[in-house]
Symmetry: C2
Subunit: 389 residues, 2 copies
């Protein structure tokens, strides 16, 4: 699970397959790119750690310091708190039974902001805060594009929710997420989605302030809009998650290129079915996830593009089928099926980094900047993942 690196496992030809690999060189580049953008835009960056779910990966986000992060589970919040992080946002609508764990973290001195979008939630949060004698910082979720949860910025109930929170000392601000930006295929459409995301958050904050309610945080973000925003006036912080690894969905949108993908899964060829044009591997959906995010994109990438062990994409080779522990590779666009004998190791680049990473206990880490990779890229570290809820 968290293997000590035996000598035999010190490069990608070593460990039993399938296993997940992170190219830390690509990851550092992806992190630097968005940090530079946030600096130019004049907003704080609060990366979402739900993608990597790794303290070692998170250490690269803020130059080794435990800076602000977003989490998707209380298990992540607790793991990051244990590691010294003190500035967290739990960006999933709160349920009553989760408040004791939230309050326990607050009592440890962790600023853990929670999210809600209803009067009902504001009332039980306010009641729990009063009962515990502690402020429970809460953000009101704003719906900018009809994607999922949240209140529209013009919703009649918004100031009332703000008032309930404020009166209990719990109002922190507003948060929105442009989930529909994952379906915007041009840079201009994504820029427009980023403006719309900003406008929704800023409008909601303005309505609260107009009602005499102080708003500290105005939080926006998604990987596509974070890389497209041109003006975030009125916004205090930017969130994004997938960008640390990127994936084929993001490459399909044009937010990154395939050479930016930092996560892959090493698999081994275990069979050939030339009569069907198939190469069979030991990496099925258990290793890749069932995510087929590129199926709705102009170029469907199956379960993933296939690279050699150094990370170089093999043109035209796609993982088109998956059962639990079997992957099927086929050639497309008239490409010849390459000669890949049984035992050949390959790296499969995933549709959706969050989903593929979640199939693994951790990552073997290589550094693509270290040049030639004979016989295979060296494994420089193992990064365990946080899991569960």
């Amino acid at each position: 699970m968290s293997p000590a690196l035996s000598p035999a496992a010190r490069n990608l030809a070593g460990p039993g397959t399938p296993f997940a690999v992170v190219d830390v060189h690509r990851m550092r580049r992806n992190i630097a790119r968005l940090r530079a953008r946030a600096d130019r835009l004049g907003v704080a960056l609060r990366p979402h750690v739900k993608t990597a779910k790794s303290l070692d990966a998170a250490a690269l986000l803020h130059d080794g310091r435990p800076g602000p992060v977003t989490v998707s589970t209380l298990a992540e919040a607790e793991a990051f708190a244990d590691a010294g992080y003190r500035d967290l946002t739990y960006a999933v609508g709160i349920a009553p039974h989760k408040l004791p764990r939230v309050i326990a973290l607050l009592r440890r001195g962790v600023t853990l902001r929670i999210l809600l979008d209803s009067t009902e939630q504001a009332m039980f949060v306010a009641a729990a805060a009063r009962e515990a004698g502690i402020a429970v910082p809460a953000q009101i979720e704003i719906d900018c594009d009809g994607h999922r949860g949240g209140l529209r910025p013009e919703a009649p109930g918004l100031p009332g929710i703000g008032r309930i929170l404020h009166d209990a000392g719990c109002l922190d601000g507003v948060l929105t997420h442009a989930g529909e930006s994952y379906f915007r295929y041009t840079a201009e459409e994504r820029r427009e989605a980023a403006r719309n995301e900003r406008d929704a958050a800023v409008a909601a904050a303005g309505r609260l302030r107009a009602a005499g309610l102080p708003v500290t945080t105005v939080s926006v973000g998604s990987t596509p809009t974070a890389h497209a925003a041109d003006d975030l006036t009125g916004v205090t912080e930017l969130r994004a998650g997938t960008y640390v690894f990127f994936d084929l969905v993001m490459a399909g949108l044009g937010v990154c290129g395939p050479a930016d993908l930092a996560l892959s899964v090493v698999v081994t060829v275990i069979g050939h079915r030339p009569e069907h044009g198939w190469i069979v591997t030991d990496g099925g959906w258990m290793a890749m996830s069932r995510d087929r995010g590129t199926a709705v994109q102009p170029q469907d990438q199956g379960y993933g593009l296939v690279a050699d062990l150094t990370g170089t994409v093999i043109p035209g080779l796609v993982m088109t089928g998956a059962s639990q522990e079997h992957g099927t590779l086929t050639a497309r666009d008239g490409a010849a099926l390459p000669e890949l004998p049984i035992g050949t190791r390959l790296r499969v680049l995933p549709n959706h980094a969050c989903a593929t990473a979640a199939q693994h206990h951790g990552y073997h880490v290589v550094d693509g900047a270290h040049g030639d990779a004979a016989p295979a890229p060296a494994i420089e570290a193992y990064w365990p993942r946080v899991s569960g809820w």
Copy 2:
């Protein structure tokens, strides 16, 4: 991860959501049903433990004895060997680098059969067996329906592969899997698929025997064909996995009914979007998996059907959307969206039990035979899962 059951968590209203639940009453019924069928058909049953991946669940398969099982990973093989199982089949084509772990298990006295479908594999298995001075029992994978791997029973190379294995003391038999039976929607079509599966395995065994090669095991199986087979003459054992839990894909085929589904995921309502007709929960694809197996069936069940906390399906309510930690429920067929306040717990029945179970560290176990469930079904055990490779 493997929580001790605190008093507050002793029924399904207790643990933090989302979490996986197994109804052991339904599971026992499902197990008894297939065992009775195998007995009537006069074949041994070798359940595939890749679905539950749990030693506690497996204890119900053979009345508490460590009987024959099929595994999908060497991690399962090792965990079951550690628990006293001595009769295992690893039903994924072998790669050279996995042989040391196989041989280590054989040396511990575990009969671990491996699978292959090429001359190349037979040669490296024979060489490894000779070098280790140990028989490595191997089965030749037979392709009965073009689903995945294997040799066609009439393949010219079949006897040659058998010969290489036999000469190294490694030939155990043949194995086939009717993967296409997951797309056969009538009992008669599945009966036909079961006959075809049997015929392919028996024909392959016959060709090997005709070449003077002894065949011990003739193994067939898939959950749909195992429940449809009417005559398994010539077959020595039947494999199936999903049947212990069943799922919506199997219900959609008619192999079981929704009331047979033993696995579900408890989620909590965290929001409402009445303008879209949505109820939002804290169970997204991280809890359910991305599996959309029913999407190709006549009745698409989204990410799952929704039941109340006692396991009774709520008519017309379907989980139609999933992001990482959010599920969206909608009403279909003109059903009214039920009143489900924030904090309400629900049980979501999955498309594909293997994929949903894999998203969890283990199962909270309830017994649906224990009648009334106020305030919620009691949790009687926690069963951890084996994971990784």
